[in-house]
Amino acid sequence: MTLAMAEDTTLREALAGDPTAFDALLAPLYDPGYRLAVVLLGDRAEAEDAVQEAALKAWARLGQLRGDRTRLRAWFLSVVANECRMSRRRPWWSVIRRAELDGQKRSPEGIAIHEVDLRRAIARLPEEDKVALFTYFYLDLPLEEVARVLRVPLGTAKSRVYRAARRLRPGVALEEVLDR
């Protein structure tokens, strides 16, 4: 049996309600999903909760994939990003988390200044820019998948990746950003 056939079987079993099959499908995606949530929320406990909620929603909405296993990664990451968005909209988040994040200014001692600056610059970006940078540069997703995570057309995804990169490094060339 080929890997593709095995994966299709796993997806069918998950769609039929088998939680073990569902977990096997999502297992490789928990780590990137968690990292994305940490970047978006800036808090590990919140990120764990968001991924947990995203997994439950993915379980309930698995039919949205229409049986296409190749769309699973982008789809799940978009569910995680959406869950993070929902978390940040809860009334208490802006009051409590904002104060905590503002207090998390680490000492730059022993760390190259530009690295600290880059992290702070990323942290200040709009959420959709963080998702674009994280999925394209960190997860190395092809632009087509970045577009699916962002739920935008391919051209918009390209623009968003480039725009986000320019916010970090004004004047960077398009070719240097979209170099693959």
Binding site: D23, H114, D140, V172
Partner: protein, 43 residues
């Protein structure tokens, strides 16, 4: 630029990039399942 951004995200998530340092013992990190929603996620 890609390397700089990758390092920044590594720092932000307090973990090395999976491609740089694979988890030596993935079994040590249980993953959440829909049948056990109270379980925490892998970190």
């Amino acid at each position: 630029m890609r390397d700089d951004i990758r390092r920044a995200f590594d720092e932000m998530t307090d973990a090395p990039h999976p491609a740089d340092e694979p988890d030596p013992d993935p079994a040590a990190h249980p993953t959440p399942t829909p049948s056990s929603p109270a379980q925490s996620c892998p970190h």
